[in-house]
Symmetry: C2
Subunit: 391 residues, 2 copies
Amino acid sequence: MYKLVQINGGVCASDGFFADGISAGLKANAALDMAFIYSEALCEVASVFTTNKMFAAPIKHFRAKGEFQTNFILINSKNANAMTGKAGVTDIDEVLATIPNVTNPLMSSTGVIGVRLPKKKIIAGAKLFDFTKREPQNAAKAIMTTDTFSKQMAFKVELADGTYFHIGAMAKGAGMINPAMATMLCFITTDANATASQMQEILDAVTVTTFNAASVDGDTSTNDTVLLLSNKKSAAFDKEAFKEALHNIMHFLALEMVRDGEGATKLVTYKVTGARDDKEAEVVAKALSNSLLVKTALFGEDPNWGRIASTVGASGAEAYEETLSIHFNDLCVYDKGELLFNAAMEDKAAAVMKLAKFDISCDLGIADGKFEAYGCDLGYEYVKVNADYRT
Amino acid sequence: MYKLVQINGGVCASDGFFADGISAGLKANAALDMAFIYSEALCEVASVFTTNKMFAAPIKHFRAKGEFQTNFILINSKNANAMTGKAGVTDIDEVLATIPNVTNPLMSSTGVIGVRLPKKKIIAGAKLFDFTKREPQNAAKAIMTTDTFSKQMAFKVELADGTYFHIGAMAKGAGMINPAMATMLCFITTDANATASQMQEILDAVTVTTFNAASVDGDTSTNDTVLLLSNKKSAAFDKEAFKEALHNIMHFLALEMVRDGEGATKLVTYKVTGARDDKEAEVVAKALSNSLLVKTALFGEDPNWGRIASTVGASGAEAYEETLSIHFNDLCVYDKGELLFNAAMEDKAAAVMKLAKFDISCDLGIADGKFEAYGCDLGYEYVKVNADYRT
């Protein structure tokens, strides 16, 4: 028995963690653009990175370390430090060498690809860091790119024996959010007494149904990163409780990212059931969340269930017109070969489409495979944001 | 030795073929919305259909026939006759039974999914058909949906011995154009002395590098159809000449479809070389032509080569930052780990992006695999066209 209590504080909700955001002049108008996370005690680290083969310099820098403990992460927005070759990695070493009193410091970046880090600005900015600050909201704002709101969540986890630990997180998303991870950065801190290998196992499992089930546009970035740090300030740990808390945090942040997808006005959960197996259900759910025709129909609030059926058929998974059924929330719009759609139903379906959040469920009627994926609509604003991202 | 002479006439360029388009009131404003192709002599048939498992009623109707010869195709726009179950097929039989003097008649449809055929209108419309008409332009217009221009091409193929044959085609495309075929219909006639099996072999080979290399939005429709009919009015045939003429026609029509992609303003050829093998080159080329981030950058005329690199890395194909090079036409913007981009080059690259047609070339620097794919940009107009397609 354990109890999850949602609390404030983001990455500073865990004992012994400090964080803040500052302006280094990377963004215009003195907006916050650099953040740090600092821990008094050294932390064990679990991680998930992008599957993109052009993974960015901060990921190379991390992977070169082998086993290590750290107490510091520097995060910048506006520059991804990707496609910058060996120089990208030495740039990180140069920047991090200027930070006093840190051990095995890490760096994480998001922004434009293919431009060297503005080292001078970043080194000058880092001099403003104050490791006694607990300003998680500033940190969460500083890591934003095209995000329109910051994303944080934290829990106090109370165990049956009266002990407890904390787990808190911040994330950024918005563009390039994709089933194979996203241009998303997520930093999670905990004071639980959890080792790197314990955390890694749980993190890998939770990623599948949270960040890897969320899609904005089907593109996978060079910089996707999830870092989970434990400083073991608390003696408490319980695997199931930790997993549930981590799942709740990552599920919430994944949906927040989709809801804040560039130009998104709707958050849709694609519930696929009855597939040949879970893998095929995942293929179908992700095909739906990534289909341009489905996404534009959502934007137009057009209950075009034919595009849903067509996308199921095009996904590559086993599927039959005669066994498929489709629901918009509880409204059945197509049932195993039966055309149910008429003017009255069209009105009801259109009413569902006007909601900010709803489910589209597809039962393939074959076996027991199931998967849920999360997607958004695609409208003019997505085009606007992405037509000239660099300027 | 042979010679290809481009001629007018579309599907009527081949001897003994007739075609016309009429208005049956399916589209508004008395626009042309039904077409026929008729041959005096019975034709052998080769075909390629969608890979979508929810394939439409006309494809079920065709596949139920086994081996056959035909002299007639009825084509309607505005209604796809897809997801209409067994009734969709009997609707076709009912419609075709009203057409006099045809043998094994075929039907082909494009438009909205999940609505029964408007049989009365279609049967009344078919009574307007006049099998002595040669109005290929009317036929090509009648099969359009969101296309903004009609698409036709034809050749006279002159062989070394003085004999000759013709091959002519019309197509429609616009939305749901995709590497695994498209919502595209293409009808090709020839008077060459070619059997169904000879034509099928050539058609399958040519499809890979033409229609299956073209993408507008990565969605694969329920209705994609290519039909190739030979009435053998000419005694002439030469396999190589036929293949080259068919390739030229299908390549031209594929590019016309991409150029006329919904809201498209640019036609981009993605030339991928140096991949581990041709299959991996195809994966990369199609990933580029389908990437939303690449497509919106094209629309914004933003020479964002970092998104190209990121998409290559995300494609799943073997790729390395240190061996990749990227060109916009002849301009090298990234060379095997070297960041070449500066303000002067940015101006040059931006000038390429302003062209209506250009190449983006990626050499992966691994082995000899290569593939070319064709794509377009994605702008506000695509969203507009697709946000409420059905109204």
